[in-house]
């Protein structure tokens, strides 16, 4: 199990530490996603775990052994970079077999293992290709195979998918999850993309300005963001406070009323006999539904959705009043009791 205790990392030229007093635990066999905006220190944390950045304070230990004096190459933590960092002078097979050759594994066994790994990442027969001839997604797959080859105790992934286009990212996120679970790999995974974190990780830690502000299972974090900013980062469009939050929850018959409520864009839905009423500010048709911006009486400006009009029907016109229902499964109570700046 990886234990990160009170870790801080400082850069010479910066006033604030890049990573400040971070505590994290990662049990064997689990995948932990560290989620945060760019510049929050998450990649620096990853590099510190790999032993590539010196700690200003705190400790990183694995299975109870402090790693302070263990250099990177003896930690057994493979780091996969955002852009793969394949060795351009070696073939795909040369890259994947790199860690094995370092250990002087016989060539025949290296070749066999490289073949297995290329099958695993979906690139059978790619061994003789040069890295320069691969697409971005293929390079990341090769980098993943290279990282897995040495059977590292811990796999560190630094935004492995963010250099890829959207379709490739979704497909590879799914594959990545399968590969990690099947191999039983313990992985620490850094990303700024919440979808990626949901798709790949078991547990999640939210990081902001060098600090971990919330951690837990993906579900727990997602269902109860720690504050309004965390909620917005997790993809909630609006955070309501006070009376507005109360009105929305009570209209759906909620038993317990939270002081702050985060709404996804689809939390309010146009429906006949809905208890709330909103005036349409704008409407935009998408392939699946109509997205509305509404001014809801006693709540304020929020997003809502309406079903696509039947053939010959019309989208609600600007300024018209529409009835609304609330889908509580698309909302989340925000834990933070402090009221921070009303709804937005």
């Amino acid at each position: 199990m990886l234990e990160i205790r009170d870790v801080s990392v400082r850069f010479d030229d910066a006033e604030a530490p890049a990573v400040a007093h971070v505590d994290l635990d990662l049990p064997v066999g689990e995948v932990l996603a560290v989620l945060g905006p760019s510049g929050c220190g998450k990649s620096t944390l990853l590099r510190a775990v790999a032993g590539l950045e010196p700690l200003a304070s705190g400790s990183v230990s694995y299975d109870g052994r402090d790693l302070a004096r263990v250099p990177t190459h003896r930690r057994g933590f493979a780091l996969m970079f955002q852009d793969g960092q394949l060795f351009p002078h070696q073939s795909v097979a040369g890259n994947v077999g790199y860690a094995l050759r370092l250990r002087r594994v016989p060539a025949a066994r290296v070749a066999a293992r490289v073949g297995e790994l290329l099958d695993l990442v979906g690139l059978p027969g790619f061994g003789d290709r040069a890295p320069a001839t691969l697409s971005g997604g293929e390079r990341q797959r090769v980098a993943l195979a290279r990282s897995l080859a040495g059977e590292p105790r811990l796999l560190l992934l630094d935004e492995p998918l963010s250099a890829l286009d959207r379709a490739m990212r979704e497909r590879l996120a799914h594959d990545l999850r399968d590969i990690l679970v099947n191999a039983g790999t313990t992985a620490l995974f850094v990303t700024h993309d919440q979808e990626e974190a949901f798709a790949v990780a078991d547990r999640m830690a939210l990081m902001r300005a060098g600090r971990v502000v919330q951690q837990g299972s993906v579900d727990d974090v997602w269902r109860a963001p720690v504050d309004a900013e965390a909620a917005r980062f997790l993809g909630y469009a609006t955070v309501l406070t006070g009376a507005a939050a109360g009105r929305v929850q009570r209209s759906a018959g909620a038993g317990h009323v939270a002081d702050q409520l985060a709404l996804r864009r689809s939390a309010l839905r146009v429906a006949p006999d809905g208890p709330l009423t909103g005036r349409v500010l704008s409407a935009r048709t998408t392939p699946e539904l109509v997205r509305l911006r509404l001014d809801v009486e006693g709540v304020g400006e929020v997003d809502a959705v309406a079903p696509l009009p039947v053939v010959g029907g019309t989208v609600p016109g600007l300024g018209t009043a529409v009835p609304l229902v609330v889908d509580l499964t698309r909302t989340a109570p925000v834990l933070d009791s402090e009221v921070s700046g009303g709804w937005s």
Binding site: R47, A50, L52, P71, T72, H73, R74, R75, G76, F77, A78, L79, M80, F81, D83, Q85, F87, P88, H89, Y98, A99, L102, R103, A132, R146, S147, A149, G150, P152, L156
Partner: protein, 549 residues
């Protein structure tokens, strides 16, 4: 189509002047030399050339040239690699100063380097006990001294541009620091090392001033042998044969260097280049120790030169410097101060000439024509203008003498020969400094400017010129320094009554007598300081590409 045709015409017009100058002042003299070697009594005579190449003295000279240049290249690379690492991958206070210092020997006039080593190794010098004066070891050491900057700069620039994360990836896969170097860093550096080594070998194999001042008559390279055959033995045919031989070898080497350089530029394009130097740690101690040794090698001859120039009969004195204003008791035709003034005037002319030619050549060779034949023409031109880098200055000077001596071009006694020859020697450096910068301008910037309504002239003014003025200044300094120190061609061409300072230094050390040697030291210091000041001004411009070939 019409646009392409007009563009081609414009490029041809730009190229016309440099090509014409190059034809008259480089290819013609070169051709004249080849002719002298192969044509005897109006008939092609290959046998005569072969018989020259069969002489045992020639074998001796050839063998010495190859092994001394080879040994010097090897030592330069071995010392230069740690230096490149320390100066480009570690960050510590004073690094900028050290980088400038490493560059200094490279721009020092070769006669100054030779004289400095003699003061260090002479029996009365600080290292006199080693009895290295006049030995091949001294020659090799001076070659290393001279060329360390080439390796440190060329490899260092490449090293600095390597993405550190590639090495980190290897470390997280379990590679020890040594394994990381061997399997990841070194393969990435190989093109740079090969390019630097081939340039160093070239410089060593064609070095003239160093060998002449340190080797005397006992040890000669092809280059000094050509000089001796021409000026002392008057065996022009043997000299021509050796020149041709040298030209062939140099062309092959340049071709190899060019090929690896092209590959390196490709390689650099691909790296995203996150530049990061780290602080030194205790693990770097061995590398730091080698670097310190290299700095001692660089510093010792210079210190020794300066100290010796200030001493006479065991006391500190400025007498040698005062003597520079005299004719040295009849040793010289004109005082050294007059020679300094000559050097300065010649350098101004040569620099101007090299810059005009260099700018025109750069504008042409940094084009990327659409047609295949256009591209091939540009590539050929690029390679041809690199030739003076390797063709020995002695060959150029000698060629001038044998071809420009009759109408319509009888320039033997003209004062313009020296600046022209020096400009040709400086030309490759000017082009090497300017063309990477111009090539690095994204063509889409020009297209963007044109699409916003800028005329071709306006594009040149607003897109190209802003990035060019600094390299142009740097190239000016480079050409000036080269011209100030040029010895090979000048020693042939300078008229006895109008010598440059390097020629005077050589004359002084070839004559016996303590006071002559003292004057040579003082003149060397003045020449060295002048060159270094010019280069320091250039270095202030902080131009990364200066000194990389």
């Amino acid at each position: 189509m019409r646009g392409g045709w007009r563009q081609g015409l414009a490029v041809a017009a730009l190229a016309a002047l440099p090509v014409a100058v190059f034809a008259v002042f480089f290819l013609l003299p070169l051709g004249g030399m080849v002719g002298r070697g192969f044509v005897a009594d109006g008939r092609l005579d290959v046998g005569g050339v072969l018989s020259v190449l069969g002489r045992s003295r020639v074998h001796q000279v050839l063998w010495f040239t190859i092994w001394s240049a080879g040994a010097a290249t090897l030592v330069t690379v071995l010392l230069g690699l740690p230096l490149a690492f320390v100066l480009h991958r570690l960050s510590f206070p004073g690094r900028g100063l050290l980088r400038a210092f490493v560059l200094m020997p490279f721009v020092l006039p070769t006669v100054v380097v030779g004289v400095a080593f003699r003061t260090l190794l002479a029996s009365s010098g600080p290292l006199g006990a080693l009895r290295l004066d006049g030995t091949p070891v001294a020659i090799v050491a001076a070659m290393v001294f001279f060329n360390l900057a080439v390796v440190a700069r060329t490899v260092g620039a490449l090293w600095e541009g390597l993405d550190r994360r590639r090495e980190e990836a290897a470390a997280t896969l379990g590679a020890t620091p040594l394994q990381v170097f061997r399997t990841v860093t070194l393969p990435a550096l190989v093109p740079g090392i090969v390019a630097a080594a081939s340039v160093v070998f070239l410089f060593c194999a064609t070095s003239f001033g160093i060998v002449l001042t340190l080797g005397g008559l006992r040890y000669g390279t092809v280059e000094t042998e050509i000089y001796l055959l021409t000026t002392q033995l008057l065996d022009l045919r043997a000299a021509a044969a050796l020149s041709v031989l040298q030209l062939v070898v140099v062309t092959v080497l340049l071709y190899v260097a060019q090929r690896t350089r092209a590959r390196r530029e490709q390689a650099l394009d691909r790296s995203t280049g996150r530049l990061s130097a780290r602080r030194p740690t205790t693990r770097d101690l061995p590398v730091l120790a080698i670097t310190a040794t290299a700095f001692v090698l660089l510093l010792a001859p210079l210190l020794s030169l300066v100290v010796r120039s200030l001493r006479e009969n065991g006391a500190w004195t400025l007498v040698h410097y005062r003597a520079l204003a005299t004719d040295g008791g009849g040793a010289l035709l004109v005082p050294a101060t007059t020679a300094l003034a000559n050097s300065w005037r010649v350098a101004v002319d040569a620099t101007l000439f090299a810059l005009v030619l260099g700018l025109l050549v750069t504008l042409v060779v940094s084009r990327r024509p659409r047609s295949r034949s256009g591209r091939r023409a540009v590539a050929t031109l690029d390679a041809v203008f690199l030739l003076p880098l390797g063709v020995s200055a002695v060959t150029i000077g000698f060629g001038f003498l044998v071809t420009l001596d009759r109408p319509p071009l009888d320039l033997r006694s003209s004062a313009v020969l020296v600046p022209i020859a020096q400009a040709l020697v400086a030309l490759p450096l000017v082009v090497r400094t300017l063309s990477p910068v111009l090539r690095s301008v994204d063509p889409r910037q020009r297209q963007a400017a044109a699409s916003l309504g800028a005329s071709p002239w306006r594009v040149l003014l607003t897109v190209d010129l802003p990035v060019m003025w600094r390299p142009v200044l740097a190239a000016t300094g480079f050409a000036f320094a080269v011209s100030l120190g040029e010895f090979g061609a000048t020693s042939f061409l300078a008229r006895p009554d109008r010598p440059t300072l390097p020629v005077v230094v050589y004359e002084l050390i070839s004559r016996p007598g303590q006071s002559n040697f003292g004057m040579a030291l003082a003149a060397s210091v003045v020449l060295g300081v002048l060159t270094v000041v010019v280069m320091a001004l250039v270095e202030r411009l902080r131009l990364g590409s200066v000194g990389t070939f």
